[in-house]
Symmetry: none
Subunit: 418 residues, 2 copies
């Protein structure tokens, strides 16, 4: 099966929005062995939409669109594509009623606004795809020759949910067995540079048996992605597993996870097996580290909380950092970081505590402590470790890299004391 | 002038890469008044590239491509598009020599590898575009009827540099004076639904004098974007200002900013004018609110810090929330939120405090307090306000929406008490 994706919206032609919907659909299709032969983006213009969809249908007979299903007047997708199929529109009272109930349940009012009623209009003979994530339903429209267009909303969260729940199962049914999906696996590393990794992985490259190896650097570290294509699924899986295991050995202590593992989740798993709790003390990251940890469902079993100690007074009064420490070494020092960690661990009665203090910029740097200077400390039941580092990047990147580095120090300490 | 963008690369069809190059070119073209009528992405496949470029040329006569200019064997752009124009390829010795010098200067070796020599092949009659940011030169190819294709490399840094230095100046020349750039302005709202906004803005639509109005919903609220095209720059600016002012009046208290303003920055500005400090107490958001506030440079003048009170024990011991309150009303209640806010304000000696407690999901919901139940409270120098709401979305969205709502309550309280 060969599919084209058509994403719709003026914001795509103006470059206001990255086409993350098109990329998401492409990824999901590749994973089930369906190939995407072309992606097209057009604006909120009936002629442009009709042309793009008609051409794509002629080439492949299978098209997925996103965008243009909302209640506002620039949402043209449904009537335009209905016209391409020569179908009239009719009002689906069940959709209107579901929209009305949703509206009332949310306490937005008793009557559905006129603008929303347009969302109940669907092409004759279309299958309505349920939207559990928002108001605009999706549409599956197919002609007598079996050519079809699936219309999905442009809001990314709605699109992702509907694609998984309503579209993928139907495509799997149609696809049948024997497809050769593009499969990839990722090993996540942190604390090592791309070129150092590339050098140490060089001897391995000849043994990858045709798998593609990509280095993907970001603030979380360098991800190593292996990709297999043109093979049966079982063969790909075996190859990826073998090669992935070899990569992991070479990456050694720098490898912390696979796929989309978040280092915060890895650390929570370590706490779970050790039966330990954790608390945080954050200065320059201002809560980002706590925010990352609590992004993981179930973190409440191990994460007690923390202190955002942005001002020196809060460091002193709420964490017990000594005035003498702040005067002698400054707020950004390993000494202060250590007292922040031990302070929050004692006050929150946690087994483990981690602290971050640094200069995220753009201002606040000095000759001896330039922007990007960051200190972290970890206290595991009274054993305190600390470290200082010069981070690269802008304010946001320094802060994100700092949370990653702090989590990695926790991971290494928990690994060492296991 | 009307242009199409064709981006080339298997990774785009597999969804591994977001098409940031296409978006960048679109943005840059809009800013000089050139409209993009379609964007297409195809894989590293000669037939697909030829078809896409030929079709785009037929529609507009003006095409910009990215990708497929590198030294590897899957880089097919140049010979394929040369064939579309019926042109032969020839070796440009000047390119080879420049590549060789670059190679030697970088200390990569004395001789250019054979693979790189392919980069010296250019179509007959093409203009070579200098690449100061990498090795692959760009190509401007034009036929006797004035139809042209510009080929640029796919590495984003190289693309951006070359587009600015080599392409924009030439397009400006061709466009001549009197070009009419696409200009937009955005008004940010929060706390109101897209359809309610659309209803209340309806009477205004006829008075927008041809400006396009787009509703852009997200977790932060609904952005209203006005776009002007086909006008002189000065006229656009005046129209946008007048219409923007009218929209702001109708959006009323829901409008909090313009452009890419973050609500956290808006609140910091209010604190600055009031000479006030702020502290936070976060349960379900786990530090995200502090993280957002401290993302703003200079926030340290007004933000003292906060307590991440994830466990009930921390709420009691670190914020002074009464055991009786927790037992009678539960951790997710306006009562608890109020005591969290007053508790952190007193302990951190802040003028203003804001608290969040809620059930972010996916677990932890009950019949009376389902997932998405969130309470916030604001304490401005002893005057406490609180509110309870049912948030929609997954864990991440509930948490993000909660930080936005809490900041909005601070904004409204500070506006009211000013």
């Amino acid at each position: 099966m060969n599919i084209e994706i058509v994403t719709i919206g003026d914001e795509l032609l103006l470059g206001f929005t990255l086409d993350s919907n098109g990329a998401h659909i492409a990824r999901e299709l590749a994973a089930i062995g369906v190939s995407v032969s072309r992606r097209t983006s057009v604006g909120d213009d009936a002629t442009a939409i009709a042309d793009a969809v008609r051409e794509a249908l002629e080439r492949t007979g299978a098209v997925i669109t996103t965008g243009g299903l909302g209640p506002t007047s620039d949402d043209l997708t449904k009537p335009t594509i209905a016209a391409v199929f020569g179908r009239a529109m009719h009002m689906d009272e069940a959709i209107i009623e579901a929209l009305r109930q949703r509206w009332v349940a949310r306490g937005w009012g008793k009557e559905l606004p006129e603008a929303n009623k347009q969302q109940g209009l669907i092409p004759e003979g279309a299958v309505v795809l349920t939207n559990r994530h928002g108001s605009a339903p999706g549409i599956w429209l197919e002609d007598e020759r079996g050519r079809w267009v699936v219309m999905l909303p442009g809001v990314p969260r709605e699109l992702r949910g509907m694609f998984a729940e309503e579209v993928l199962p139907k495509l799997r049914e149609r696809g049948g067995p024997g497809a050769s999906p593009v499969v990839s696996s990722t090993i996540r590393t942190t604390g090592v540079s791309e070129s150092a990794l590339a050098d140490s992985l060089k001897p391995l490259e000849s043994r990858l048996e045709g798998l593609a190896l990509a280095f993907l650097p970001g603030w979380a570290g360098v991800d190593l992605r292996l990709t297999s294509s043109g093979r049966a699924a079982g063969e790909s899986a075996a190859l990826l597993e073998r090669a992935g295991a070899e990569l992991r050995v070479v990456a050694g202590q720098f490898a912390y996870g696979a796929g989309t593992d978040d280092l915060a989740a890895v650390v929570l798993d370590q706490l779970r097996s050790g039966g330990m709790t954790i608390a945080v003390a954050e200065s320059c990251t201002g809560g980002l580290l706590g925010g990352r940890i609590t992004a993981i469902p179930g973190s409440s079993h191990f994460f007690l909380g923390g202190v955002i100690a942005y001002s020196n007074e809060v460091k002193a009064t709420q964490l017990g950092v000594g005035d003498d420490t702040l005067i002698a070494h400054g707020a950004v020092s390993e000494e202060t970081a250590r007292e922040m960690a031990t302070g929050v661990r004692a006050r929150y009665r946690a087994d483990v505590a981690v602290s971050i203090t640094g200069i995220a910029g753009p201002d606040g740097g000095t000759d001896t402590k330039p922007v990007g200077t960051v200190c972290v400390a970890v206290d595991v039941r009274g054993t305190v470790t600390s470290s200082k580092r010069q981070m690269i990047g802008d304010r946001e990147e320094v802060r994100l890299r700092s949370t990653q580095w702090a989590l990695d120090l926790v991971r290494r300490q928990l690994t060492a004391t296991r």
